[in-house]
């Protein structure tokens, strides 16, 4: 795990750096969530609405919309697919779950890509992801903070 200016960039994940999204491929399923940078920029979440299980999602379209105290915006899927599970129960239990633990407990949705072969195209991994995210964090001139438990 790399931590740059307080922002965690865990190993083993694929990243849509501009979209501040992480993706973990588990067989033909992709688990998605907000990065540390995303949860910090957004601030404390106050609400989330998930695209429902069974719905189709297109690349660049939202798998969920999130609302913080001062902003509303979408979380975009990087590829076409179908929503097969959402983490709604965890958010119902603790709306700050992604602010506390964005990479594990605070995941957003499981999506089955239409084409598992091409789904990772455009996402960055390993050193390339770290390098790109470091540049982004430096450009944003930000440091990450998490909600305390």
């Amino acid at each position: 795990m790399i931590v740059h200016r307080g922002c965690a960039i865990p190993d083993g994940l694929a990243y849509d750096v501009e979209g501040d999204l992480w993706v973990e491929f588990e067989g033909d399923i992709a688990r998605m969530g907000l990065t540390d940078v995303a949860q910090t920029r957004m601030g404390k979440m106050v609400s989330i609405r998930f695209k429902k299980v069974g719905k189709r999602v297109l690349a660049g379209k939202s798998i969920a919309t999130v609302e913080s105290a001062k902003w509303v915006g979408p979380i975009h899927s990087p590829f076409d697919g179908e929503v097969i599970e959402t983490n709604d129960a965890a958010f119902a239990d603790d709306i700050l779950i992604a602010n506390r633990d964005p990479y594990v407990a605070g995941w957003i949705s499981l999506v089955r890509p239409d084409d598992p072969e091409t789904a990772p195209v455009g996402l960055l991994t390993d050193d390339a992801a770290v390098a790109a995210y470091k540049i982004r964090i430096d450009e944003l001139k930000m440091s990450c903070i998490r909600c305390a438990d």
Binding site: S47, I48, R49, E67, W71, P74, A92
Partner: protein
């Protein structure tokens, strides 16, 4: 690149919402940054992006009164709006706004604050996104990512109908409605309240606002007309916003809600099911301290006047579990309330808003 000004003047309420959504969705990297101005012809209720319409708004009343209810793609709470407000929206490509939300608000609220100052109102920007006059809020603001655009929304609030604002909301009791009304009167002000006979006309106010946007954004505003693709997008948004499906999207459960009156002042509603009955708590919190509270529900407490005494005792207490529990415990020791203990009341008082189920 200059900033484009689209002044739509007075339009139907649905159109006023569709315009900023449509212009936002039509924005591309090469689209000029745009400011829109609208003023609604008819009153309406606008609910926040993630609110549950039937929980937040008295839909039956609105229906009877002919007041439409629409969901917006900007956060926050339900609000009653009418021609007393002139809406402005800065719709900039997200690549051309500051990366930090705080700085987005600093950039785009500078114009409205300066405009109020020029009118003679000592308004200040209180971060993150409040515009205040001596501790009172004057108009609401919000931000959202819509398509490729970042929209910051606000209004020149010439007038505000406090009575209808509290009437259109679903509230747990009439006492709570009264409390909310008095809190809003105290913490929300308007241009006309501040300036009386010296208040500018709507047109004068808009002119000042646009001058101030130009000055603070250090760019010329160029009056323009909406492009054909924007008009199509506006029509599409008009259709979507008018649908019952969009209005009745799932929202927050009624177990805990917060109505933000001004930066530092919230009115919170908590509900807790205790063995002895449902406990509702409506709490005004100012800078972390309970400013007012109404407890209600279908529980039983004897002697009955102790409930009012408990409410009085909670005013001025820090809004945290330990402080509230301490006061409630002391009172509960002197009353008879079957199936209800200090923890039940504290849970209702301290209820946090929750995500949708």
């Amino acid at each position: 690149m200059t900033i484009r000004l689209l002044d739509f003047g007075q339009v139907e309420s649905l159109r006023s919402l569709a315009i900023f959504h449509g212009v936002g969705y039509a924005m591309r990297q090469n689209t000029p940054d745009t400011i829109t101005i609208t003023r609604p012809l008819d009153p309406f209720v606008s609910i926040g992006h993630h609110q549950d319409a039937k929980s937040e708004v008295d839909l039956a009343f609105c229906d009877e009164a002919g007041v439409p209810v629409y969901r917006r793609e900007i956060g926050g709470g339900a609000v009653y709006l009418d021609e007393g407000q002139t809406f402005w929206h800065t719709i900039f490509h997200q690549s051309r706004v500051p990366s930090k939300l705080m700085n987005v608000y600093t950039k785009f609220l500078a114009g409205p604050v300066l405009a109020l100052n020029r009118m003679g109102i000592p308004a200040v920007h209180r971060p993150v996104n409040d515009i205040q006059v001596e501790g009172r809020k004057i108009g609401g603001t919000g931000a959202a990512t819509v398509g490729e655009s970042m929209i910051v929304a606000g209004s020149l609030m010439f007038d505000f109908n406090y009575e209808l604002m509290v009437r259109v909301l679903n509230v747990p009791s009439e006492k709570f409605r009264d409390k909310m009304y008095s809190t809003m009167r105290e913490y929300l002000t308007t241009i006309n309240r501040q300036l009386g006979d010296d208040a500018p006309t709507r047109d004068q106010g808009v002119r000042v606002l646009l001058e101030c946007f130009s000055e603070t954004l250090e760019d010329e505003l160029v009056v323009d007309e909406p492009r054909p693709d924007e008009l199509v997008a506006i029509e599409q948004q008009e259709e979507r916003i008018a649908t019952p499906e969009w209005l009745h999207l799932d929202g927050l459960p009624p177990s805990g809600t917060i109505t933000k009156i001004a930066e530092g002042v919230d009115v919170r509603e908590g509900v807790h099911k205790a063995p002895g009955g449902l406990v509702r708590a409506s709490v005004a919190v100012r800078d972390g301290v309970i400013d007012g509270i109404v407890l209600s529900g279908d529980f039983f407490m004897e002697p009955a006047e102790e409930l009012a005494r408990l409410q009085d005792s909670l005013v001025g207490i820090a809004y945290d579990d330990d402080s509230v529990l301490g006061v409630v415990k002391a009172h509960m020791a002197t009353v008879d309330a079957p199936g209800l203990d200090a923890t039940d009341i504290t849970t209702a008082v301290m209820a946090e808003p929750q995500a949708m189920a």
